[in-house]
């Protein structure tokens, strides 16, 4: 069966309950995610998992990750040390798969030979809802045959599948063409130091430190950091202070942040110091209901911090605003007003080489 998930999410509730019904009866579901289309089965039902493995032609012993809905739920299926917890909290939900030592609560066919298991908490409402009200973890593997590329549309997937494979699918949830985000970054947290097993769009090398190989990834990191900050800000205005040399990607990240908010044309505000944009209303984007204005400032031309009084940024601090301040180190005492009234995110950019950047992030200075 194939059902369509409408763009505005009006039939989301029906889609979620139908999906849970199929999962519960041991079925195989093709479902959209924040990255590619995925294959969902109940991770505790041995038979369902076997069906999934057969479908993917996956060698036994090669691990398959699972979706969970929260870090609390994650902790009931894996061992989490006090060192790992802060990192998990900063990355999840997000486009990451974290590998941890399993508590063996799900089918052991999903675990690696060494007893580890991969977990995802995606920042994607439909998956979150399915997983939240479902009693068991759900598998989170990409919907493609072993060794083949993942899919961003149902058509592309079905084209790859022979008839007998198609017949194995019990439900297809079609959300149309997904944005071309890479599969998640896979992080192995069971070793002494964090290991990157697979690189997705957002690459983290330790807590609060990211690597970006190109402007495109810097934009995606901006989008990720906005969502991460929203959780921490609890409704307060969010201010990103960006520091780093010319050409390290500050404006690119600002564009990534603006794109999440539905603002397409963001250009460098250097010449006029600051630009303001209205955030369009959106039923499906929670951020757009909380925040009304996006302010993009650039202090590149500011040489003395008392200039800050005249730019007028203080007028925004009592409003539902998301603000980016490039060359934020030049603001002097204004930082105290920000700390008092907003959630401040310090983002520091540095060059690794001509293309790659290291980006460090600190919340609420």
């Amino acid at each position: 069966m194939r059902i369509r998930l409408s763009q505005d999410g009006t039939n989301l509730k029906d889609v979620v309950s139908k999906t849970q019904e199929v999962l519960s009866s041991g079925g195989l579901v093709v479902f959209p995610s924040d990255t590619v289309y995925g294959l969902l089965v109940d991770a505790k039902q041995e038979e369902a998992v076997s069906k999934l493995i057969a479908f993917k032609n996956r060698p036994i012993g090669k691990a398959i990750s699972v979706f969970v809905s929260s870090i609390e739920e994650l902790a009931s299926h894996a061992f989490i040390t006090s060192n790992q917890k802060p990192l998990l909290e900063s990355l999840l939900p997000g486009p990451f798969t974290v590998i941890l030592n399993s508590r063996h609560t799900v089918s052991n066919l999903l675990e690696s030979e060494t007893g580890t298991l991969g977990f995802r908490i995606p920042d994607y409402e439909p998956v979150r809802l399915v997983s939240k009200s479902y009693r068991n973890p759900i598998t989170a593997t990409s919907a493609n045959l072993g060794g083949r590329h993942p899919h961003y549309s149902i058509e592309s997937l079905l084209n790859q599948l022979p008839k007998e494979k198609q017949a194995m699918i019990d439900l297809i949830v079609d959300a149309g063409k997904l944005p071309r985000n890479k599969p998640s970054t896979v992080l192995d947290m069971t070793q002494d130091s964090l290991q990157i097993v697979r690189k997705g769009d957002i690459i983290t090398s330790s807590k609060n430190e990211y690597r970006s190989p190109s402007p495109k990834e810097t934009r995606k990191l901006g989008a990720f950091l906005l969502r991460q900050s929203e959780k921490k800000a609890k409704g307060k205005p969010i201010v990103f202070l960006m520091t780093g040399e010319l050409g390290t990607g500050k404006t690119e990240m600002s564009r990534g942040i603006a794109e999440v908010l539905g603002i397409p044309q963001v250009v460098s505000p250097t010449f006029v110091v600051s630009y303001e944009y209205e955030i369009p209303h959106s039923a499906s984007n929670r951020l757009n209901n909380t925040y009304k204005q996006f302010v993009h400032a650039d202090l590149y031309n500011i040489m003395e911090s008392d200039e800050m009084e005249h730019i007028g940024l203080d007028q925004y601090l009592d409003k539902p605003v998301i603000m980016v301040i490039e060359w934020g180190e030049r603001m002097g005492d204004f930082i105290h007003s920000l700390q008092e009234k907003t959630h401040v995110v310090l983002v520091t950019f540095s060059h690794v080489n001509e293309n790659e950047r290291i980006i460090r992030v600190h919340h609420s200075l």
């Binding site: 040399e245 250009v267 250097t270 200039e307």
Partner: protein, 347 residues
Amino acid sequence: MNILAIDTSADDTSCAIISGRKVLAHVEYSQIALHAKWGGILPSLAKRAHEERIDWVIQKTLRNAHLSLAQIHGIGVTYGPGLAIALEVGIRKAVELSSTLTIPLIPVNHMEGHLYSSFVQNAKGNPTRPFQFPYLGLLVSGGHTELILFKDHLTYEILGQTVDDAAGEALDKAARMLGFGYPGGPVIETLSQTVKHEDRYIFPRPMMKSQDLQFSFSGLKTALLYKIQKMSEEEKIEALPYLASSFQEAVMKSLIKKTERAILKTGISRLVVGGGVSVNERLRTLLRALVKSHGGIVQFPPYKYLNFDNSAMIGIVASFRAEEGLMLSPGSHIDRVPRLSLLQSTQ
């Protein structure tokens, strides 16, 4: 109809009195000397200077035109794009004048002004330059880089624009990286002339492969930065004019390439150019050669001040708007729109 026009979008406090396309008087107080020391527009200075100078500038304009306020029939004012707190000063004054004189108020998009700047005439009506629509407009300044389809009076379509930095901003930032002050464009141009525009380093021309008409200049900064970092102080001094020249070539050739693509795409080879960077002789030379090969023409602002921010061009647009009845009643409220797009002003 005599229109008094005000522009305070950035660092110039400017007032003009216009009749049709003719500039009866134009006075501006430039803050460039104030800002040069700081390396860019300084918001507080800009705001304070606008506030302190605006009455004086208006009075002087009236005196130069030998007119009194009673002989003014409409007030034109820039309401965006530009620096918010600077725009506010001009808007406040315009609303106040329109209200006390009970004459209509005509809000004008600053970029429309640049598009019309090559049609501005002096008090004697020169140059005559008839309108022969459609035109391709190329607007290049410190805050903008846009290709416009200028279909008819007050009717525009944006064909392409920068996705990151403006062309003038790129030149300013390059100048600063090379150790020079604000504004950077003229320094870069002068240095380039000394080496006859030699393109020694061939910096990347971004977005040249993409078939659209968008510009991108932020990657150029990085290329220049990396080039300089690899040099010793002595090498850098030796290479300075070549670095400047190669950088300018990369910027100008990008502009030319996309303009040519726009000519091919639209079939229009009649160009109007405006904005601060249009004063650059290298750009003018390349554009003249470009339109020649396509059998077209290119029009630049006829007087030097018209390349830069000025109120004369705002007054011309206000005249055309008034003719179309696009006026607000005296003392109407106007919001400044710092990111105003030309699309929002098209008919």
